[in-house]
């Protein structure tokens, strides 16, 4: 199988940052906070670049939906080995309400426009933990999906995917074109070496608007409130099982 791979990369708050909720409880503080590429997206990029290195695909296109700063994320993907980028400009109110449904519509539209044969996404983003975009994209395109992939093997025009599921590992074989979502153990993303960062500067990032793709961004979801998780209460130690049952009954749990 040769052809084009679309990789979705999302700009999220860096995993190491301590998240703070805004005073008005409408969201979390993002201003001046360090952002980076979603770790699962890094794994997705790595997988795509590996496929290209094995000459199983011809071109890796990194896609990101968001404001101007999303270009940084695309550049990082380019520095890791993607060939070119597409920045779908979404800002302001639209960006605040941007969710898996909108992104999957955009990815589906791009897949058709770019004649992609494979879409690789991270299994979920670490800011919203939705775990929906891959699945929705596949549904919109009516393509098979290999989600929670911990191993991907291309076999002619089929793909063998080992999936991490609750019960263990499941191996499936799907046709192409297809959507894959990357799980943690799929690979270890490479560092962008300095020479590659320099090379990435010369790679192209195209600018696209959602309207150009015929995508409507209105969201059917409204965030009512964002608050900190409750403070963790101290636990209690008991000596015997009888004590435990007694305490549970007291607390009305049993």
């Amino acid at each position: 199988m040769s052809g084009r791979v679309l990789v979705g990369v999302k700009r999220v708050i860096d995993y190491a940052v301590k998240i703070r909720v805004k005073a008005d409880n409408t969201g979390v503080v993002t201003d001046g906070v360090k952002h980076s590429m979603n770790p699962f997206c890094e794994i997705a990029v790595e997988e795509a670049v590996k496929l290209k290195e094995k000459k199983l695909v011809k071109e890796v296109v990194a896609v990101s939906c968001g404001p101007q700063q999303s270009q940084e994320t695309i550049r990082t993907a380019l520095a890791m080995g993607a060939d070119r980028g597409i920045h779908v400009e979404v800002s302001g109110k639209d960006y605040e309400t941007l969710g898996p449904l909108q992104v999957s519509k955009i990815m589906a539209a791009l897949a058709k426009k770019e004649d992609a044969q494979l879409i690789i996404l991270g299994k979920q983003a670490i800011d919203d933990d939705c775990n929906q975009t891959g699945q929705m994209t596949a549904a919109l395109l009516d393509w098979p999906q290999g989600t929670f992939a911990s191993e991907v093997t291309l076999d002619g025009d089929k793909i063998k995917v080992v999936r991490e599921i609750d019960g263990g590992l499941e191996t499936i074989k799907i046709n192409t074109p297809a959507v894959l979502t990357a799980d943690l153990r799929l690979n270890t993303p490479r560092y962008a070496t300095l020479p590659n960062i320099m090379k990435a500067k010369k790679k192209k990032i195209a600018n696209v608007k959602p309207a150009d793709l015929g995508v409507n961004l209105t969201s059917r979801l409204e965030v009512l409130k964002v608050e900190d998780p409750p403070q963790r209460q101290a636990g209690m130690k008991v000596e015997t099982v009888e004590d435990l049952v007694g305490k549970l009954k007291e607390a009305g749990k049993v």
């Binding site: 860096d14 995993y15 190491a16 940052v17 301590k18 001046g32 906070v33 360090k34 980076s36 770790p39 699962f40 101007q68 700063q69 940084e72 550049r75 990082t76 520095a79 670490i126 943690l184 153990r185 270890t188 560092y191 962008a192 070496t193 300095l194 020479p195 590659n196 960062i197 320099m198 990435a200 500067k201």
Partner: protein, 429 residues
């Protein structure tokens, strides 16, 4: 060379595959709050305003091009993940791990300014300064290796090398070969130009005799830039720079020094016993060595300043989470006003040192005079590093004194401040 990991290593990072949750760095209690701190204590400089559309006429010093930001972030991540776990072992055993050296080359950190034509990264001087700063936060020994290679060795070859010399050496320097700069001798440290190593001319080659001391990276270097005098009667005007390959007969690399700090970076004496060097191996012109040395060391100063800033920042970043966690007399020690004053003072000093360093670097890039600013940057940064590490040990209390915590290593390492020119000399300049 057998390298064994110290399994008691306090700051070993679990590999990505072992993580339950995504890349959560699990460290012992003192580092528990560290992850949240990074966005606050280390300055989070803004991306260049012209990215947002408007071009700012006089952008602040902490304005970086996209390339510089990406490089800095890449090096930071690489240093934290791949070098940090090896640091205590390297310090203890006074050895630079091979993996560190190989990956430094792979990442393109050893040829930041070298043209891609020769396998380098093709970036700017300021980028190398950022790289050195980030490395120094994790291990000043690794930073010095990178600093010498980039600001001394590579620059000398790039500026003075003939096409043949560049062809032969630059490729190697950016991909797998370390270089050393040999100026100091037992009898000539600060008084560098009274050096006695001599080079006698014969037809089309020179014979070098003498010895050098305090040569950094010597244990691992493949090439040595040796300052020798071709005509001692001409004084410093006879000093010439020779390229000497490691395997040249007569060159002896002696046992490395057992040092207080920067232990992972080897520092050795060298002996030259009738070392034959072809005339083609002269770098630049005969008798101009002193000029090159002064010129390069001016730039190297900015590198050292960056190293000191990184050292101070790294030490500081390791200490603050501890102060926010350690409770005495019913409060976190961070909350005592006396502490807060001291901490604020140190943070300010580090920031000032950083700005001096960045400004000197930018001046150099702009082709403007920068010698005074470079000296100021180095002098000030070194003082700040000493202040910071000393204070950090105090703030950490008893644990700051032990080897289980990295603070005492920063304290020992910062004493290299006089690396290339005693503070007193800086002041005279």
């Amino acid at each position: 060379m057998e390298i064994t990991m110290d399994t008691r290593c306090e700051y070993s990072l679990p590999s990505l595959v072992d993580c339950q949750s995504l890349r959560q760095i699990s460290r012992p209690s003192w580092g528990a709050c560290q992850s949240g701190l990074r966005s606050r204590t280390t300055s989070a400089p803004a991306v260049a305003p012209n990215q947002a559309g408007g071009v700012v006429a006089f952008p602040p010093l902490q304005t970086y091009s996209e390339e510089e930001s990406m490089m800095r972030d890449a090096v930071r991540k690489y240093a934290q993940e791949r070098i940090a776990p090896l640091v205590p072992m390297m310090d203890e055993n006074s050895v630079m791990d091979e993996e560190v050296i190989t990956s430094m080359f792979e990442q393109g950190l050893m040829g930041v300014e070298i043209d891609p034509e020769y396998g380098g990264t093709g970036s700017s001087f300021f980028s190398s300064i950022l790289v050195i700063e980030e490395l120094a936060k994790v291990d000043p020994s690794v930073a010095v290796l990178c600093d010498i290679q980039n600001t001394l060795i590579n620059t000398l070859f790039v500026k003075l090398g003939t096409p043949a010399q560049k062809e032969k050496y630059l490729n190697r320097l950016s991909t797998d070969m370390i270089g050393s700069f040999c100026l100091s001798e037992a009898e000539s440290g600060s008084d560098a130009f009274s050096l006695k190593t001599r080079a006698e001319k014969h037809k089309d080659y020179f014979i070098i005799n003498g010895s050098k001391m305090w040569i950094s990276n010597a244990e691992l270097s493949g090439v040595f830039l040796v300052m020798a005098n071709v005509d001692l009667s001409a004084g410093y005007r006879g000093i010439t720079c020779f390229i000497v390959d490691r395997d040249t007969p007569g060159l002896e690399i002696c046992k490395k020094e057992n040092k207080l700090g920067l232990r992972a970076s080897s520092t050795c004496p060298l002996n030259f016993d009738n070392v034959k060097v072809p005339e083609a191996n002269i770098l630049g012109e005969v008798g101009h060595g002193y000029k090159y040395a002064i010129g390069m060391l001016n730039e190297g100063r900015i590198g050292i300043a960056a190293q000191m800033v990184g050292l101070a920042q790294g030490c500081f970043d390791h200490t603050i989470p501890y102060t926010r966690q350690r409770v005495q007399f019913g409060k976190r020690i961070f909350d005592f006003q006396g502490m807060q004053h001291q901490i604020a003072h140190v943070a300010t000093q580090i920031e000032a040192a950083r700005l001096l360093t960045y400004n000197a670097a930018r001046l150099k890039e702009a082709g403007r005079p920068f010698i005074k600013e470079a000296c100021m940057a180095k002098y000030f940064s070194s003082e700040v590093a000493t202040l910071t590490t000393s204070k950090c040990i105090e703030w950490m209390g008893g644990v700051g004194f032990t080897k289980d915590y990295p603070i005492e290593k920063y304290y020992r390492d910062c004493k290299i401040e006089w690396g290339w020119g005693l503070q007193q000399l800086e002041l005279e300049l």
